[in-house]
């Protein structure tokens, strides 16, 4: 109501102002300004060329102007339209039609709380629009970014259906946030890439500082598609089908060889043979003996994807409605991902100066075992399929159930077929999101906008685990988790936009913002006895609630002098509920300059240089994203498991929360300061474009999980610890070439180099791992931070080779037998202990690159995307199992074991019973690779009115790597502890066939 009153008041003021100007008339000209569709256009600047005299058209598009001399030139200009000049020759009435300036519209880039002409950008911002996207459809938004811009590294760490690629912007510091149609920190997986109009990536601090504490790892702004005004009903559709299969099967022992190797190991250990001659003879004569576990687990997977959208535009209103359905199978049996999306977008001009924008979406994601392979657990199917003994049948004929542990072979890992088929992790996520924005022009230069958004997510996670095979007392369990995430955001925004004297243009934005979020989760387990129709026993329900609130105020000013000197400055004040009261508020600044040399006379008419811009920026960004709720106060832990005082009923336990959430009442903001220098160069009418950026980013007071000594209960506590540096270079080179209309080529090469350094930490080194606990079989955390070294260092024992003779090698401990593994005794105390561990490699790549090539010939298009990742090391953990893990009951399954000392005195591997330390360089591999990621061929059917395009393509076609696991890219880890392959879901080769049409 208040808004309406304010609006009426403004209307009144405007009428008075225009009345005054009319009453002062001398020689009068008046008229109406229309657009191409005959719709009147308000707020058009009408000035007399060479003077500052002029008016602005009213709401009905009319204008009138006095004091004209014959021969004066009238300039009609308004954003989005081509400027028109008309000479005055005493006509009294002048109606003008403005043409839409498509070029000018296209160049507008979303920069957060507003837009800016691309040529006016001062910060480092990358843009991808729907038109530029690959010929081949991508399943998710992150995929649209892959290989599109320097500084943005997209890695696909899992081949599971629905797996989210990881996006890192400028180094490996954390996940960027997504802003979808104005909603900050929106959930990206619920978005259908088909609905996306364009994506802006704010890479440097001067650009991202506008998001203050949210922008530390970069900001990805997603704008969804809408309708176009005065356009007929348009129907666009898409369908594609994909077929995927395992890329490279591992070379494992056949059942007979396996049994022989196991026997050999037992004999060398002084034990009896595991398998008698008779058993082996029987196996040899049975052609169906044994199991190829990889064949049991992997399959050829089919996926379907269909999208349809309707859009239409009227005079004042536009709409777009879209529906999408996706049904993906994974190449591991019993894995799938389905996603149904719908989205409605409405724009309506309430009045000439009032515009309403509405976006609403609903999506439903339904995943089955989509985390398969990622977890480090007994139920990891990928690891089990390579470690399980090939002589064991899937089904034990004695029990008619899955074979269980036999007393040899994989001790911890469960029967892979059991784990794949009888454990169902079902994740059902519903995401509803609506937002409404109302923009009111107050003056031509000033507008006011209110924006409200609500996102609601319903998260349902169920895990059903059937009772374990061959474990008589075990029961089936159903774990159920119900979560809700409700988020509100409200903004009030003022925008000011004016050009003074043609030379000075000023753009200012001020925003107040409130964000409130509440996450609740409840979970419980039901156990079922074996047998039909048994009633379940329900465990105590546990619920968790995490609120978060943030208040912000921000302002940004952009100034351009003669369109050649550009400045942008911003300030943002954030208050976060995550921090203790006395540290809740902090302010963040940025400033950036750009100089367009091509606007200078000496370059304006250059035949060679079509664009040359230099950019420099500096910004300060905060971060609280890594903090959880209640980290500043000690809580009790309702998750402590119960105890049974009487041996049959559980007594509820709740005590002091230790674990990984110890309270720290001194927490402060993490602050990063980043400087950026950039160059944009266009040659030969922009046929060649080069963008180079260098950056230097220091993150101070980093939020860091410090270990709590185990005499205080262990676990970890978040502290402001240390200082990190990330600096790097990103280069993007685009080359376009066309031969008339028939043939054209566009190549884009992007190159990213990032170097990190630990500048300050409380101790000389801090050990970090991906989770609170150690990797299974590890003696300490997998990674280390060392002052002066890079982030992501893998840590462990150095494997020196096989003990072959009595001669001692340097760093060998005494007392080894021939065939033993030699590990480096770094401190020379004649014992191997964790003090002997050292850096074994680094889990972050040194540099990455991408080549995206488009070739068009007549109606044919070909797209090839090649990616390269170099200088990265990975802990290949399943390999430990493949080698039999040395001594103990596990037996080797890999054919590589014939290279062990037991079979080959010159072999590279120690003898079968030697100690194969898991956390050693023996299991660290170079995971650099070059991969032909995409090849697609498309054909545009030459219809006049409608459009139809058919295409076929392949993904992950060839990978050149020395990595011995399934896939060099498929590994998990955190930014501080990257590069752990625990048996990740391998990336398949995928063949896709599809079509798009438009009616």
């Amino acid at each position: 109501m208040k808004l309406k009153g304010f609006y009426n008041f403004l209307l009144f003021v405007l009428i008075i102002v225009s009345t005054i100007s009319v009453s002062a008339q001398d020689k009068l000209i008046s008229g109406t300004i229309y657009d191409e569709n005959g719709v009147p256009v308000p707020f058009v600047n009408v000035i007399i060329k060479g003077t500052s005299k002029g008016v602005v058209s009213k709401f009905d598009g009319t204008f009138s102007l006095t004091g004209l001399k014959k021969g004066d030139i009238l300039l009609f200009s308004y954003i989005g339209y081509k400027t028109k000049d008309i000479t005055y020759h005493t006509q009294a009435i002048l109606d003008v039609t403005l043409e839409t300036d498509n070029e000018q519209l296209e160049e507008v880039v979303v920069i957060g709380y507003g837009t800016q002409k691309k040529s006016d950008l001062t910060g480092s911002t990358g843009v991808v629009s729907a038109e530029e996207s690959d010929l081949q459809p991508v399943p998710n938004v992150q995929g649209m970014l892959q290989g599109k811009m320097a500084g943005v590294v997209v890695s696909q760490n899992s081949g599971a259906p629905g797996a989210e690629p990881k996006v890192n912007i400028r180094g490996f510091t954390g996940n960027p946030i997504y802003v979808i149609d104005g909603l900050i920190n929106a959930d990206i997986n619920a978005v259908n890439p088909n609905d996306i109009e364009n994506i802006s990536v704010l890479k440097d601090a001067s650009a991202a500082a506008i998001y203050g504490s949210r922008g530390a790892n970069g900001v990805i702004i997603v704008t969804t598609k809408g309708g176009k005004k005065n356009s007929p009903l348009k129907v666009n559709g898409e369908y594609y089908h994909s077929i995927a299969h395992l890329n490279n099967k591992m070379d494992l022992l056949d059942p007979i060889s396996y049994m022989q190797v196991a026997n050999r190991k037992a004999l060398e250990n002084g034990s009896n043979e595991l398998f008698s001659r008779e058993e082996i003879r029987r196996a040899q004569s049975d052609p169906n003996f044994g199991t190829d576990w990889q064949d049991e687990i992997y399959r050829v997977a089919h996926s379907n994807n269909a999208n349809i959208s309707l859009s239409k535009g009227w005079d004042k209103t536009t709409m777009r409605l879209s529906l999408g359905a996706r049904d993906d199978q994974g190449i591991i049996r019993n894995t799938s991902y389905k996603r149904y999306t719908s989205r409605l977008s409405l724009d309506h001009d309430l009045t000439k100066s009032t515009k309403v924008v509405f976006n609403g979406s609903y999506s439903f994601e339904d995943g089955l075992n989509t985390d398969q392979g990622g977890q480090s657990s007994a139920k990891n199917v990928v690891a089990a399929a390579t470690a399980w003994s090939p002589n064991i049948p899937v089904i034990d004929p004695n029990t008619n159930d899955y074979s269980g542990f036999q007393g040899y072979g994989a001790t911890v890992l469960r029967n892979p077929v059991y784990s794949a088929e009888e454990i169902d992790r079902m994740t059902k996520t519903k995401t509803m999101s609506t937002n409404l924005g109302i923009t009111q022009k107050i003056f031509p230069e000033l507008s006011f906008k209110v924006f409200g958004a609500v996102q609601y997510r319903d998260l349902e996670n169920d895990t059903y685990e059937r009772y374990e095979p061959a474990v008589p007392n075990s029961s089936s369990t159903l774990y159920q988790s119900r979560g809700e995430n409700l988020k509100y955001q409200g903004n009030a925004q003022l925008d000011f936009n004016k050009t003074f004297n043609e030379n000075h243009s000023l753009n200012a934005t001020a925003v107040f913002e409130v964000i409130s979020r509440k996450f609740t989760n409840e979970y419980y387990t039901t156990s079922f006895d074996q047998g039909e129709g048994k009633e379940g026993t329900l465990s105590e329900k546990i619920s968790i609630m995490q609120p978060e609130g943030m208040l912000s105020g921000l302002a940004r000013v952009s100034y351009a002098y003669k369109e050649k000197l550009l400045f942008t400055g911003s300030v943002r004040l954030d208050g976060s509920s995550r921090l203790p009261k006395n540290n809740q508020w902090d302010d963040f600044y940025s400033a950036a300059f750009a100089y367009k040399l091509t606007k200078e006379e000496f370059l304006a008419n250059s035949d060679i240089i079509s664009e040359l811009k230099l950019r420099a920026g500096y910004g300060e960004i905060g971060n609280v994203n890594s903090l959880r709720a209640f980290q500043v106060q000690n809580l009790t832990d309702p998750l402590i498991k119960p105890y049974a005082f009487d041996g049959q009923t559980l007594s509820y336990a709740e005590g002091f929360e230790n674990g990984n959430n110890r309270a720290n009442s001194d927490l402060r903001w993490e602050v990063s300061r980043q400087a950026n220098l950039g160059l944009d160069l266009g040659l030969f009418e922009d046929k060649v474009q080069l963008n180079v950026d260098v950056y230097h980013k220091i993150t101070d007071d980093s939020h860091f999980n410090s270990l709590v000594p185990s005499f205080l209960g262990g676990g970890s506590v978040t502290t402001n610890t240390g200082k990190m540096l990330n600096q790097g270079l990103e280069v993007q080179l685009t080359h376009k070439w066309t031969n008339g209309k028939k043939f054209s080529i566009r190549n884009t090469v992007s190159f990213n180099y990032n170097q990190s350094e630990v500048l300050e930490i409380p101790q000389d080194s801090i050990f970090v791992g991906t989770s609170g606990s150690l990797e299974s079989g590890f003696d300490r955390q997998s990674h280390v931070l060392i002052k002066g070294q890079q982030v992501g260092q893998l840590y462990g024992y150095k494997y020196l080779g096989v003990k072959r003779s009595n001669a001692q090698v340097d760093g060998e401990v005494p007392g080894l037998n021939v065939g033993d593994a030699i590990y480096y005794d770094a401190n020379g105390d004649n014992q191997i202990g964790i003090e002997d561990m050292q850096v074994l490699g680094n889990g972050h790549p040194k540099f990455t690159w991408g080549l995206n090539s488009y070739i068009d010939y007549k109606n044919w298009s070909l797209n090839i995307f090649i990616q390269g990742v170099h200088g990265v090391d990975v802990f290949n953990l399943p390999k430990h199992g493949l080698y039999g893990g040395g001594s103990g009951v596990i037996d080797a399954t890999s054919t590589a074991i014939f290279d062990s000392y037991s079979f080959n005195k010159n072999g590279e591997l120690p003898s079968l019973n030697a100690l194969y330390r898991k956390q050693s360089s023996l299991f660290v591999e170079d995971a650099s690779f070059v991969r032909i990621k995409n090849i697609t061929l498309a054909y545009q059917v030459p219809f006049k009115k409608h459009s139809l395009r058919v295409y076929g393509g392949a993904q992950n076609v060839f990978t050149f790597t020395n990595y011995s696991g399934y896939d060099p890219e498929a590994n998990s880890g955190s930014n501080l502890a990257p590069g752990l392959d625990r048996g990740s879901f391998p990336l398949p080769i995928t063949y896709t066939f599809g079509l798009n049409f438009g009616i």
Binding site: N269, N272, G404, F405, Q406, G407, T411, A470, V471, N473, S474, S475, T477, T525, S527, T537, S539, I544, M545, E548, G549, M550, L551, L573, G575, S576, R578, A629, F630, L635, T636, K641, Y643, A644, F645, D646, Q648, A653, E654, F656, R662, L707, V708, P709, L712, G713, V717, Q763, F767, L774, R780, G833, I834, E835, G886, S887, G888, V889, A914, L915
Partner: protein, 504 residues
């Protein structure tokens, strides 16, 4: 900034108020909350079924240096092996996890519960009831420090649960100071604990008495050697024997029968476990009872089995027959002697009840990860009180020598399998403290006593002198008393530079 938004909304948006969770300073509203935090303290004894729990074989990695258990000479048994070889290092984190971290989580939770006692009394909750519950927390804290002081010597005395710099930088207290704290805690427990509890898993007054007897017995030996404490140990043991409802049973095998877990009269304190049907998702199981202590032939992990010399000198009789798996029965009626087991060692079958029938053909029980055991484990038994009485008496702790001798002979007769009340040909006429120590070794095997007995009597070297050459060879010297205490974990030394490492 707040002024712009209005102070009220500012306050509410920027404050995180837990709804389902409680901050520690507002947790203790009623006696029920104290019950929950005491339960959380008990839980720490059995938390992490495979690695830390008293029901795990890993929890026994700190004791494998004694002469009773050994392990495979292989890498996957590394943690038991380094202990068996007297070669534990500061970086053997899985050993320190069981020996060091586990008792400290008990201490963390008991410290929190103890904070609640005062808070609840000042809130007007019934003082007697609050103290009686709180006494269980005091008992458990004393238990944890008693375990630590025997495994590591003087340790940091942490008496509050918070993470703060003062706690992080604690130095090690002396052995005497730790015992002082243990006795203070135990006195509170004794003052307030009831003589009987509605549930068998809860600590009673008699459990606290029993532990006090063991504490005094230990203080009388190495390293404090306060021999005057023998008399105190004897007094406490005598109180339990005479005053408590616990009665010495006449059949050894019956004590550890899972069906009699709630009716046997021996147990003064037992760790309760619970099967997955009654207690879903709570992982209250006892891997040490069977999965970890089964031979390959039964599909076991054979983490620990019996040292050959120990088995050979173990006195023959019903107890030996019950405690050890010496052969496997085959379907065809034949047997496989332990010398032909894959590990070529006898196995520990004392806790097989409810999971393995060692007299049934092994083939039918082969090829599976065994049924998960939920057998209760003894913490204090009346038999131990009789043996403490006898040992203290032999060491000049007073009491009646004939009663002491009778206690010892009753234990021996039961071990042999004869009537406990009838004189037997193998009865001792006189006895020494060493006879009692030996008897404790036979009687209390698998009850986590042997290692402590050998170090407090400084007889580790003697016990290991006849070690069979087929066991993993000793690396540490059993005469080196520095090895009686294990090294503190390396990670804690790094996080708290004030901690001094035990010399090796």
């Amino acid at each position: 900034m707040c002024i712009l938004f209005g102070t009220l909304s500012c306050e509410s948006i920027l404050t995180e108020t837990p709804e389902d969770r409680t901050t520690t300073d507002t947790f203790f509203q009623s006696i029920e909350n104290l019950d929950h935090s005491v339960t959380a303290t008990y839980r720490q004894l059995v938390e992490n079924a495979w690695n830390r729990s008293l029901g795990s074989a890993k929890a026994r990695t700190v004791f494998t240096g004694a002469d009773d258990f050994t392990t495979l000479d292989g890498g996957n048994k590394y943690d038991w092996k380094v202990s068996d070889q007297l070669n534990i290092s500061a970086s053997d984190i899985r050993v320190s996890d069981a020996g060091w971290s586990m008792p400290y989580t008990v201490i963390l939770q008991s410290n929190f519960a103890i904070q609640g006692i005062g808070q609840l009394i000042s809130r007007g909750e019934p003082e007697d009831a609050v103290n009686a519950l709180g006494a269980e927390a005091y008992f458990l804290r004393a238990w944890a420090y008693f375990r630590l002081v025997r495994l590591y010597g003087g340790v940091p005395l942490v008496l509050s649960p918070e993470y703060n710099q003062a706690n992080v930088n604690l130095s090690r207290s002396s052995v005497g100071e730790v015992y002082e704290q243990i006795l203070v805690d135990l006195d509170f427990a004794l003052k307030h604990l009831p003589q009987t509890q509605p549930e068998r898993g809860r600590i009673t007054y008699w459990a606290a008495k029993a532990m006090k007897a063991e504490i005094h017995l230990t203080m009388a030996g190495w390293p404090l050697k306060r021999t005057e404490n023998f008399a105190l140990a004897l007094q406490e043991a005598q109180d339990v024997i005479q005053g408590s409802p616990h009665i010495f049973e006449d059949d050894y095998s019956q004590i550890f029968d899972t069906n009699r877990r709630d009716t046997n009269t021996e147990y003064i304190w037992q760790i309760k476990f619970c099967n997955v049907v009654n207690c879903p998702g709570s992982a209250l199981n006892t891997p040490f009872a069977s999965q970890a202590t089964k031979p390959t032939e039964l599909g076991g992990f054979k983490d620990m089995f019996i040292e050959i010399a120990f088995y050979n000198k173990y006195p023959e009789g019903a107890r030996k027959e019950f405690n050890f798996l010496k052969e496997l029965v085959k379907e065809d009626g034949g047997t496989i002697p332990w010398t032909s087991f894959a590990e070529k060692h006898p196995f520990f079958s004392k806790y097989y009840s409810g999971t393995i029938d060692k007299y049934a053909p092994y083939e039918s029980q082969k090829g599976s990860t065994a049924p998960v055991s939920d057998l209760d484990l003894p913490m204090y038994r009346i038999t131990e009180m009789m043996l403490i009485y006898a040992e203290a008496n032999a060491n000049g702790g007073g009491g009646d020598a004939s009663i002491a001798l009778n206690y010892l002979n009753q234990v021996r007769r039961r071990g042999k399998g004869v009537d406990i009340n009838q004189n037997d040909t193998d009865d001792l006429v006189t006895f020494t403290a060493q006879d009692v120590i030996d008897e404790r070794g036979w009687e209390l095997i698998g009850e986590m006593r042997r290692w402590f007995d050998l170090i407090r009597t400084e007889t580790l070297a003697n016990a290991l002198s006849d070690r069979d050459p087929s066991e993993p060879s000793l690396i540490g010297d059993p005469n080196n008393k520095n090895l009686y205490w294990h090294p503190l974990p390396q990670l804690d030394l790094e996080l708290n530079p004030k901690l001094e490492q035990n010399p090796r």
